[in-house]
């Protein structure tokens, strides 16, 4: 229950801040100022927007399929918020320690698609339907490189439990309740025999435990942008051609739910990427001999310090990833549909398959 309330609060707070941050980032990239009027440096802008949205009339078009139209935003938001249930925020704080956490997060994305079709069809609007169909084809296609890149991590860490994956990537590797003890070698190659289990830090992150996972992370990052319908993969809601895609007809609070779901998805994939590849809640500083940077900047699991440090590092890394997502959005132009499919099927999927193969070999070297 604690995790539920924490994550709901975190999500709402994040959306308020992220919308403001996105506007400021876009402004700075384009040599503008961004919101300035509401509050100090425009900090109250999102709150003002939200208050406006809540007051607005909840319009249902008369030609729309009323039931689907009304349910769709709830389905989308629920499915995305459900994804936060398995994210380990700190060594002890996780909604539910399911042993199939990674798989569960991938299924959440397919749930999202149903909501999008509902919204697109229910609106009875050609732009909405086009947006929904595009969105579905895009999400389903990019699910394959996404899943394959996640599979690389799963092969290396030999578990689907996100908390266990987090534990493996730091100095507390052997503090998890799993039966087998773990020894991390530098770059995951046992042959050199450099034991870095006690060094931890950035060296034991998955992208260092198996350097090829860095490329897997790039694939994951690109695919996750497509999954959350963000530029340059925002053809489902391309303003210049489809007005707003599947949420063209929505207004007021339901539209706010769509926005919440979109930003929630951003946060979810950023969290997932950080946990799978960038060490989760582990500190980036390694222990170097007597200079125990890793031990100083993180606490033992089970203590309050451990939880606070864990949450701090995880959220810090996630914010960096989200900043990167925003920079990408304001840098690149939107892809065409055929370019989108080319990138997915001809570039990312073969590359991800190759990485899965190499990860298998690497795993054989590691153990």
């Amino acid at each position: 229950m604690l995790a539920f309330i924490l994550f709901l609060g975190l999500l709402l707070l994040y959306v308020v801040i992220a919308v403001y941050a996105e506007r400021k980032v876009s402004a700075f990239v384009q040599d503008r100022i961004g919101p300035t009027e509401v509050g100090y440096k425009g900090l109250g802008q999102t709150v003002a927007d939200l208050l406006k949205l809540i007051q607005k009339e909840d319009i249902v078009p008369s030609a729309a399929d009323k039931k689907l139209f009304l349910i769709a935003p709830i389905v989308i938001f629920t499915s995305i918020f459900a994804g936060f249930a398995v994210l380990p925020l700190s060594p002890d704080l996780v909604g539910s320690k399911v042993s199939v956490g990674v798989l569960y997060l991938i299924t959440i994305i397919s749930m999202d698609v149903i909501g999008l079709i509902m919204a697109g069809w229910g609106s009875n609007n050609k732009f909405s339907l086009y947006g929904a169909v595009r969105s579905v084809s895009q999400i389903l296609s990019y699910e394959i490189p996404l899943t394959l890149s996640i599979l690389c991590v799963v092969m290396i860490s030999q578990t689907l439990d996100l908390q266990e994956i987090s534990f493996q990537q730091g100095i507390w590797a052997n503090h998890y309740e799993s039966e087998n003890s773990i020894t991390n070698y530098l770059f995951g190659i046992k042959y050199f025999g450099i034991d870095i289990t006690q060094a931890g830090g950035i060296l034991s992150w998955n992208i260092f435990r198996m350097p090829l996972l860095f490329f897997a992370y790039i694939i994951f990052f690109i695919a996750s942008l497509a999954e959350s319908n963000r530029a340059p993969f925002d053809i489902p809601e391309a303003e210049s051609e489809l007005v707003a895609g599947y949420h063209t007809e929505y207004s007021g609070f339901r539209w706010a739910l769509f926005m919440l779901a979109e930003y929630g998805m951003m946060l979810l994939v950023a969290f997932l990427g950080v946990i799978l590849f960038l060490g989760g809640w582990n500190t980036p500083f390694p222990n170097i001999g007597e200079v125990k940077l890793a031990a100083w900047t993180s606490g033992a699991p089970g203590t309050i310090a451990g939880n606070l440090w864990g949450a701090f590092w995880l959220i810090g890394k996630t914010i960096l990833v989200i900043f990167l997502q925003m920079m990408v959005r304001w840098t690149y132009p939107r892809l065409r549909v055929d370019q989108l499919m080319y990138l997915c099927w001809k570039v990312l999927t073969p590359a991800a398959l190759l990485l899965v193969f190499l990860s298998g070999i690497w795993r054989l070297l590691m153990v």
Binding site: F28, D31, I33, T331
Partner: protein, 241 residues
Amino acid sequence: MTKGANNTYFGNIREGFSSLMKGLFLTLKHFVDARFRRKPIPVFDKDYFKYDKGIVTLEYPHEAIPVPDNGRYRLHNEIDDCIVCDLCAKICPVNCIEIDVIKSTEEIGKTSDGTTKRLYAARFDIDMAKCCYCGLCTTVCPTECLTMTKTYDYSEYDIRNMVYHFSDLTPAQAEEKKKLFEEQQKQKAKVEVDKNKGNVEDSALKDKPATEGEVKKPVFKPVIKPVIPKKSPDQDQDKKE
């Protein structure tokens, strides 16, 4: 689908990757440069062209680039200097100046450059919503009472407020002046009738139509003639045929 470098699969990927990184670093540079800001300095400042990075937006109502003193924006009429000659209203291409004239019974006064004022302006309205800022009215103005000022931000909630009234007469005063003039005209007409009866001609009344009818020839009239290239003789012949 056309591919990039060398038209190969891997060349395409390499080019895509390098150009993506380049783009990302470009925007990142702009993001980092957002520490700097352009100062609201006028164009005649020597540092004007030095601010070539950072935020360029000005928060307009709070800060603005100063306008040069000879900025040509809102029209202003110094009604004390105006002789109500109606030239500005005539030349205005969009008819935004409307003037109602009342003749006065005697000389009203002098403008600051010494021209005698003989006409009252019952109405001198400039509709700034119509104005096209061509500045023709200010050029024709003989007393230079109509000028363009450097005020440029004068939007209104009601478009009727965009009509500027420059007349210094109240309607009551205007009515009074009008009556006075009509009174005088009646007086004059009476005098004329009396004179006609006595076969005495008022020289002033007789001369006026004559002078008005006589068109003065301008001494020099500059005309820009289009330069027509001289045609070759055979072309002329062709035309004739």
